[in-house]
C-alpha cells in the first residue's frame, strides 16, 4: 500500500515491518505530567501512542490536548475521536486543530454510550457514526474540502484508522463490517483485545479470503491481565469482550502474587501466536493503567528495537 501521509505509523506499516502502538488514557484533571509521564515509560518501545477520548464516557482531559503534549515531546500520537460528543462542526474543527499541530493519525470511533460514565443524564450527539467519520476525514484529506463543500486551506494529513471488534455480535457481519469500513476509507484497524485466539484467527482467515488484509493494515489488540479478578470482570461486565474460560482458569489457578506475571506471560504468548497469523501488520498493546509493563512485553515478544523511518 502506498504511503499517503507524513504519518510515521503509516511509513512503518508500508515498509512491511510489524508496527507497535500503545495507548495512554488522559487524567481526570488538568495535570499534563500524567500524560507525559505515561508516554515517557513507553516511548522507546512503541511507534505511536493512542490517546483515548473520554473512554467509558468518564469525563477526562481531552484527547486533542493530550496528543499535543505528546507532539511537543517529539512523539507520534494517534488522536482517538468518538462521535458521541461532537457534531460535524466540532469534528471537522477538532480535526483541523489536530492538523495544525501535525498530528498525523486519527482513530475513528463511535464511543461507549454515555450511560456508562459520569454524565449519564447528558445527551449524546451521533450526528455521524464511526463509518461516516472515516469518510469525513478522508474527504477532508483527499478532496481538501469541508463536508459543506468549501475548500480547506492546508487540509489535514491524517492516516485514518478505526477499531474493529471481531468478538461482538452478530459474528456473521464482523467481516462484512470490516469490508464496509475499508470501503468507507479506513487505512488501519486496531482490534478489540484478543483473548479468544481461535475465534480471532477464524475472523482473520475470512478477512483474508475477501482480500481485506491487503487493503488495510490490521493491528491485533492485546491487553495483559493483571489478575484473575480483572479477567472475570472483563468476561462478565465489559460489553463485546470475549474472554474464554481457560484464560480465567489459568489466572485463577495461579497464586495471587504471581497472577500479574502470568498475565504478562499470557499476553506475550498471544503476540507470539498472532505474529504467525497472515495479514497481521502489528500490535496495539493496551496496558490499562499499567503502561510500565509495555517495554517488557515488547522486548520479550521480540518486537524490540523499533524500526527507524525517515
Amino acid at each position: 500500500m502506498k504511503v499517503k501521509t507524513p504519518s510515521k505509523l503509516e511509513k512503518i506499516l508500508a515498509s512491511g515491518q510489524m508496527a507497535v502502538t500503545s495507548e495512554c488514557g488522559p487524567p481526570r484533571g488538568s495535570d499534563p505530567h500524567v500524560v507525559t509521564h505515561k508516554a515517557e515509560k513507553i516511548k522507546n518501545h512503541v511507534d505511536a501512542i493512542n490517546i483515548t477520548d473520554n473512554q467509558t464516557s468518564m469525563t477526562r482531559m481531552c484527547s486533542l490536548a493530550a496528543c499535543i503534549r505528546l507532539k511537543l515531546m517529539g512523539l507520534e500520537p494517534v488522536l482517538q475521536m468518538v462521535t458521541r460528543d461532537r457534531n460535524r462542526i466540532a469534528i471537522q474543527s477538532d480535526i483541523l486543530g489536530a492538523a495544525s499541530f501535525d498530528i498525523n493519525n486519527i482513530l475513528c470511533l463511535s464511543g461507549d454510550h454515555q450511560s456508562f460514565g459520569d454524565c449519564a443524564q447528558g445527551q449524546n450527539v451521533y450526528d455521524l457514526d464511526s463509518m461516516q467519520l472515516i469518510q469525513t476525514v478522508r474527504h477532508m484529506r483527499d478532496e481538501g474540502k469541508f463536508l459543506g463543500g468549501d475548500p480547506i486551506s492546508r487540509p489535514p494529513q491524517m492516516f485514518v484508522g478505526a477499531a474493529e471488534n471481531p468478538f461482538a455480535d452478530p459474528y456473521e457481519i464482523r467481516v462484512p463490517r470490516l469490508a464496509k469500513k475499508i470501503a468507507a476509507g479506513v487505512e488501519f484497524i486496531q482490534t478489540q483485545c484478543i483473548y479468544n485466539l481461535d475465534k480471532f484467527e477464524d475472523w482473520m482467515s475470512k478477512a483474508r479470503d475477501r482480500g481485506l488484509t491487503d487493503q488495510a493494515y490490521i493491528l491485533a489488540g492485546v491487553t495483559p491481565m493483571k489478575s484473575a479478578g480483572m479477567a472475570k470482570y472483563m468476561k462478565n461486565r465489559v460489553p463485546g469482550m470475549d474472554v474464554p474460560d481457560e484464560v480465567v482458569k489459568r489466572l485463577a489457578g495461579t497464586p495471587k502474587e504471581k497472577q500479574a506475571e502470568e498475565g504478562i506471560k499470557m499476553c506475550i504468548e498471544s503476540i507470539q501466536r498472532l505474529k504467525e497469523v497472515k495479514g497481521i501488520s502489528g500490535f496495539h498493546i493496551m496496558a490499562i493503567e499499567w503502561e510500565e509493563m509495555v517495554p517488557e512485553i515488547v522486548e520479550r515478544a521480540g518486537l524490540y528495537p523499533r524500526p527507524v523511518v525517515d
Binding site: 460535524r88 454510550h113 457514526d129 461516516q132 477499531a163
Partner: protein, 222 residues
Amino acid sequence: MIVADKKPIEEIIDYVKDHQSILVLGCNECVTVCEAGGKKEVGLLASALRMHYLQQGRDVNIGERTLERQCDHEYLEEIRTSVDNYEAVVSLACGVGVQFTAEKYQNLPVYPGVNTLFMGANEMRGVWSERCQGCGQCLLAHSGGICPVSRCAKRILNGPCGGSTGGKCEISKELPCGWQLIIDRLKALGRMEDYEKISPIKNWSTERSGGPRKVVREDLKL
C-alpha cells in the same frame, strides 16, 4: 401512537395546591389507548385529588371531562363555556394536547398530568415501546423496516457498534440491539447484501435540530 406515562400524584398536587377549582381534562386518543390519560384515568386522578383535599379539610371543586382530542380546535371549543368555572386545568393529554389547550385558553393555567415519552407500539398488555423519533426523512426502506434512529441507543446508521452482545444493546441486557434486529430482518428478506451499503451522512435538518417543524398542505387548506 404517542405513549405517555402518569405523573406521580404528589407532583400534580404540588402544581395545583393554590387553586380552589380544577378541571381534570382527559383525551380520548393515544393517552386513552396507553391508559395514561383517558376517561378512566381522569376519574382516578379526580378521586385522588378529592380525597387529598378532603383530608386537608379544604373544599376544592374538581371537575372531570374527556375530549375526543386535545390536539384539535374543534374539540377544545367544547369546553369554552364550562372552563370559566375553573381556576386551572390538569390536562392528561400528551404534551401536544397540554400546549394546544394552553394556547386556546390564554388566561387559564394548564398543568401536565402525564409525562409524554415517545411514538411507540403496544407490544403486549401493559408494555409499550418506542418505534419512531420523527426524524422527518424515513430510512426504513434501507434497513429492513427496522429503524436505526429509534431502535439503536446511539442512532448509528451503520451499525452494530462493538457493544452488541447476544442480541442485546450495551446499555441494557433488557434492550434488543436495534442492529441485530435489522440484520435478522435483512436475512429473513434475503437482502443481506444491503448490509454492506454504507448509509451516507444523514441530513438531520428535518428532525428536531432544524427547529420546530410544520407541515403546510395548500391542497387541504380552506
